[in-house]
Amino acid sequence: MTRTLFDQELEDVRTTASRMGALVEEAIRHSVQALLQHDRDLANSVIEGDSRINSLHLQLREEVFTVMATQAPVARDLRMLVGLQYIGAELERIGDYAARIAKRARRLADQPRTATYVELGQMADLVERQVHDILDAFIRVDKDAAIAVAKRDDDIDRLYRRVFAEQISALAADPDHVEQTQYLLNIAHTLERIGDRVTNVAEDIVFLDTGQVVELD
């Protein structure tokens, strides 16, 4: 006995979530690039692209509801669908964060570069990698990989504290650039929040793989 149609519908929902993930990953990469390279056009493209992520999220929700209503899933299948619903919500939020970074980057694009962004750049690299790796763990439904990704969130938090200290020092040394510093602090905070969302996704992956609720933060 097989459930060809059901399996295809489940695969379709997973594909929608994966497409969302790919767009979110790209949005983060481009928003950080726009910041580091003072690229206004790239920032604009991230801001405009957020609507595609949002509409895929709506599509995902619709697909999840349809499969639940028509196929009466239980056990692993039910966990997968509920897990996809959770993950979709997290990805949508991460997309919003990328757009927020892009908006700050657009503001900074026309201003002279006052900081080196070294540690902010490192932090952004790490967050990008986290998003990439958690999506990989999601596609493979690999709880061990998800837990490993979540454990690296501490590195982001450490970098965040350093960026924060770095920017406060910069502000003390150069009080004329309050606005820029405030933007950079806001971007660092947003990156740190993305890290937390990645941890939430990791918890969702553990749930859909094992049926157990785990706290990873």
Binding site: M1, T2, R3, V74, A75, R76, Q212, V213, V214, E215
Partner: protein, 298 residues
């Protein structure tokens, strides 16, 4: 490392949020943990029927192989599994219906309130009064609604207060309001769903302790099916119910405990997994159970 999450009161240890180090692989559960997991959501209560190492034969054919389970009192226990897995056979052991089949025999031990059911000395009339049965197709007798319900009490020699017994049984079976003005009319004029509730009322009239239901709603439309399921929820306050169903959602909706059975490679029916329904349908412990309930069996 993540801090230990705050335990939530009233939730079983295996359902609490855990740290990564505390995640339990099903395959790594030892017997004690499995047993603890099986108790999740299982209300404590006495056992009504106990099956211990039951094997069952139709002549040379072995239909059940060493089945053991405990049916809790005043709960609904569902038996699920593919055709030929022995679930109806198991159901029929509980009131010795198999005695009617030449060459059929049971080995092992089955008790009702601790009393052996399988012995030669078992009073079958008394047993079948205590353990009533409802079949797949409604089988009203070709007589009036009243006489259908009064049939059992009359056989048992209970002729006083029949009117009261009939009314009470029909009320318990949620049929009274629909038939109270036509008690003398033939039961064959009732709809399929009404006939099935009439049959349940007929069982109730002899004051049973256990009600066996063999696919009681499979011949009914969805509304009549839901009425039977609602009725089961009311009846379990007073009776122990064991139901065989091919409808997985019905088992999920109605039962407190669920037993999954299937044929082993020797083609003997065996019990694969038994536990609280909520566990069977959320997180079954056996891959065979998961494959079956998710429809990927075969």
């Amino acid at each position: 490392m993540a801090a230990n999450p705050t335990p939530r009161p009233g939730l079983h240890p295996l359902r609490q949020a855990v740290t990564p180090e505390q995640i339990v692989e099903d395959s790594a559960l030892d017997a004690e943990q499995r047993s603890a997991a099986a108790e999740i959501a299982a209300p404590a209560g006495p056992t009504k029927l106990t099956v211990d190492g039951l094997s069952f034969f139709y002549g040379d054919f072995k239909a059940l192989d060493k089945v053991s389970l405990a049916v809790p009192e005043r709960q609904i226990t569902a038996l699920i599994g593919p055709s030929g897995c022995g679930k109806s056979t198991l159901l029929r052991v509980f009131n010795r219906m198999y005695d009617l089949i030449p060459g059929a025999r049971a080995e092992g031990r089955v008790t009702l309130d601790g009393e052996d059911l399988l012995g030669k000395d078992t009073d079958l009339i008394s047993l079948r009064q205590r353990v009533g049965m409802v079949f797949q197709r409604p089988n009203p007798f070709p007589m009036s609604i009243f006489d259908n319900i009064a049939y059992g009490p009359r056989i048992l020699g209970d002729r006083k207060g029949l009117g009261e017994v009939v009314e009470q049984s029909l009320r318990q079976a949620a049929l009274w309001d629909e038939v109270k003005d036509r008690l003398k009319k033939s039961a064959l004029g009732l709809s399929g769903g009404q006939q099935q509730r009439l049959v349940i009322a007929r069982v109730l009239a002899v004051q049973p302790e256990v009600i066996l239901m063999d696919e009681p709603a499979s011949a009914l439309d969805p509304i009549a099916t839901l009425k039977i399921e609602e009725l089961m929820q009311q009846l379990k306050e007073h009776y122990t119910i064991v139901i065989v169903t091919h409808n997985m959602q019905q088992a999920a909706r109605t039962s407190d405990q669920c037993a999954f059975m299937m044929m082993n490679p020797q083609r003997y029916g065996e019990l694969i997994e038994f536990g609280p329904t909520v566990e069977i349908f959320n997180r079954p412990r056996n891959k065979l159970t998961e494959d079956y309930i998710t429809g990927r069996f075969g």
